[in-house]
C-alpha cells in the first residue's frame, strides 16, 4: 500500500482539530496562541497535500502560497505576544477568564 493523499488530509484535519481544541478550551493565554499556531501548521500541510494532486502548472502555487502563510503567521505571533506582554503588565495574570471587562 502506497502513501495516499487522503492520509495527509486526515493528518492535517486531526492536527487542526487538536489546535482548535487547544485554542478554545485552554485558559492560559500562551496555550491559546500556541493552538492558533498549530492550526495554521495544519492548514499549511493540507495546502501542500492538495497541491500534489494538481497537474504540472497548477501545482507550483502549492509551493509559494504556504510561504506567505508562514510569513503571516510570523507577523501574527509577533503582534500577539506583544499584546500578551501588554495585558500581563496591566492585569498580572495570564488566565484568559480574568480579562472579562467587556462581557454584557
Amino acid at each position: 500500500m502506497e502513501l495516499q493523499p487522503i492520509f495527509i488530509q486526515l493528518l492535517a484535519l486531526a492536527i487542526f482539530a487538536i489546535g482548535l481544541l487547544v485554542a478554545i478550551s485552554r485558559r492560559n493565554l500562551f496555550f491559546v496562541l500556541m493552538g492558533i499556531e498549530l492550526a495554521l501548521n495544519a492548514v499549511n500541510l493540507s495546502f501542500v497535500g492538495f497541491a500534489k494532486t494538481l497537474p504540472d502548472a497548477m501545482s507550483v502555487a502549492g509551493q509559494v502560497v504556504p510561504l506567505f502563510t508562514i510569513a503571516i503567521a510570523a507577523a501574527e505571533a509577533c503582534v500577539g505576544f506583544a499584546m500578551v506582554i501588554l495585558i500581563f503588565r496591566n492585569r498580572e495574570s495570564i488566565d484568559a477568564d480574568t480579562y472579562s471587562d467587556m462581557r454584557g
Partner: protein, 180 residues
C-alpha cells in the same frame, strides 16, 4: 511502501506532540512539544516533495516563532497556571463539538476522490524562487505579494515594539525624556 512507513512514524510524532500541547501544564513544556510537532511536519513536507517548505518550516516556525514564544514565556515568569485549572466546565462542551466538526470534514474528505498527480512538480529551491520572482508581465505576479509581505512584517515589528515598551505616560518615561 517505505514512504508510507516514514509517513506513519512522522504522523505519530506530530499527533503525539500536538496532544502534549493540549495536556501539558506549563507553557514551556507546551512550547517544546509544539517545536517537536513542527519538526515532524517539516519531515512530512520533505517526504511529499516540498523540501524548500520543510526548510522554511524549520527556520521560521520551529526557529524564529517558537524562539519568540519561549522568550516571552520566560520573560513573563508568572505565566504558569498552577493556581487556575487547565480546563473549566465549558471545555467539556467544546470537545464533542470539535470531534463532530472533524468527523464531518473527515467524512467529506474520505468521500472525495483524491490521487497524486504524477506530473506535480517537486518544490525545489530553484523552482520556488523562479516562480516567486517571475517579474514577467504574463507571470503569476507573486513578487508583488512578496514585497507587500515585507511591508506587513515591518509594520508588525513596529506595532510590537510600540505595544510592548513602557507606556508613554508612565513616570519612568517622563523622567528620561526630561533628562534629554
Amino acid at each position: 511502501m517505505l514512504a508510507l512507513i516514514y509517513f506513519i512514524i512522522l504522523a505519530v510524532i506530530a499527533l503525539g506532540a500536538a496532544a502534549c500541547v493540549l495536556l501539558s501544564r506549563h507553557p514551556l513544556y507546551g512550547a517544546l512539544s509544539l517545536v517537536t510537532s513542527m519538526i515532524a511536519l517539516a519531515g512530512i513536507y520533505g517526504l511529499i516533495g516540498s523540501p524548500f517548505l520543510g526548510v522554511v518550516q524549520i527556520m521560521v516556525y520551529a526557529g524564529a516563532i517558537m524562539m519568540l514564544v519561549t522568550f516571552v514565556i520566560m520573560v513573563l515568569n508568572g505565566a504558569r497556571d498552577s493556581k487556575t485549572p487547565m480546563f473549566d466546565r465549558v471545555s467539556f462542551f467544546i470537545l464533542p463539538a470539535v470531534i463532530l466538526l472533524a468527523g464531518m470534514v473527515g467524512f467529506a474528505l474520505v468521500r472525495s476522490p483524491l490521487a497524486f498527480d504524477t506530473t506535480a512538480l517537486r518544490g525545489s529551491v530553484a523552482l520556488t524562487s523562479k516562480t516567486l520572482f517571475d517579474v514577467a508581465q504574463t507571470g503569476p505576479g507573486y513578487f508583488i505579494l512578496f514585497e507587500i509581505l515585507g511591508l506587513l512584517l515591518l509594520s508588525a515589528m513596529v506595532a510590537a515594539v510600540l505595544m510592548a515598551k513602557k507606556r508613554l505616560g508612565s513616570i519612568e518615561t517622563e523622567n528620561t525624556e526630561d533628562k534629554h
